[in-house]
Amino acid sequence: MRFEAIVVGVSSGGMNAMKVMFSHLPKDFKTPVIVVQHIGAHTDGHWIRLLNDKSNLTVKEADEKERIESGKVYIAPANYHLLIEKDKTFSLTIGERVNYSRPSIDVLFESAAEAYSNKLIGIILTGSNHDGTKGVKRVKECGGLTIIQNPETAESAYMPKSAIAASKPDHVLSLEAIAELLIELDKQI
């Protein structure tokens, strides 16, 4: 596999966007996907189970110290930052909010860029805050591939716009086109 992991940052409008994207990914999709969705501090895991039902892949909450495996989608738990260690395991922290957010997209992306360098794909989807802008820039600096949802197709255009303005992304695409591109990249050896 050319790419070893995909990180996704998404905020308002995220539930629909993820449903669309994950329902397009086939059962044999190998690259692990790690998601930060901004979500209320007291939300339980119900929406993750819902997403799991809509997806061909296993969608689960990321556990601390859990080893990242192929073919799985991991979601950051509410009220914790999610980080990736160099040994490709997860860490959770309760540090200060970053960009008013915990979990924060920047925190995930910056640690993932360190762990995976140029074997990482960073994706920013719909959202109404600038979290993820620094993170996606960092992914690019470390040689990773960056994809931003076309703001015109996003429920909330602010987050993709902010990410595009700060770093020249490799692709700006609709959700369906992102899924197609990921499937193509997943097949590359």
């Binding site: 556990d63 601390e64 110290k65 738990p77 914790y80 980080l83 990736i84 260690e85 160099k86 860490s91 959770l92 922290t93 309760i94 540090g95 200060e96 925190v107 910056e110 640690s111 360190e114 762990a115």
Partner: protein, 266 residues
Amino acid sequence: MEITPLLEAFFQKYSYDFRHYSEAHIRRRIINRMNVSGLESIDQMQSRLLTDEVFASEFLQDLSITVTEMFRDPGFYRSFREKVIPILKTYPFLKIWHAGCATGEEAYSVAILLQEEGLYDRTTIYATDFNQHGLSQAEEGIFPSKMMKDYTANYQLSGGKESFSDYYTSNYDSVIMNKSLKRNIVWANHNLVTDSVFAEVHVIFCRNVLIYFDNILQNKVQRLFHDSLINGGILCLGSKEGIRFTELFDRYTELDKKQRIFKKRY
């Protein structure tokens, strides 16, 4: 960027050991401090740490997480009231260790809960942390007024029996916790990484501390907890922490799986 030499040097000079903390977390903190202080390389950061003790103590604050709340995770406190309190009522006296108490919010929460359950008079709470600055704040028991709305909601959700505002006195922007709550709390400096067992206790609270440690250190601290608990003693961890991945997973039974409350086997 390699951070191991810096952590090694910091340990040699100041005896604070962060070598077995989550690397991604420590790295983030180091980069933040470098940005704030205008340092351009890890080498610069390291030499500043070793020559400037004020800077080193600021860095120590950076590495100490003090994000906490009163009655954080109300469901946990509700479960503690329902499942643990009946066990604790069978003991003539109680020793409770609050490991990693930060600024004390959760230690005060436990004091309130025990008072409402009629157990506080026979209890000693040892609230410990390596961060002296946090401990001093905890001992003062002064908290921002603006937090009280959230804390009151947490308290009520946790099954609180009184009016939460009876437990503190407001003074402009801050509140001070009632003196009577402090009477059985011993605040002490203790470092989980380098210090050892100091008492035999009935309950240990250590919530959202172990998540910052790697496997090696988690196992070490779990052994310390196991050695400190009486048989049948209770271990309370954070909502995302477990003992499943540690060596001691078979030494406890689960009293409440979701709320991460464990009971040491006899």
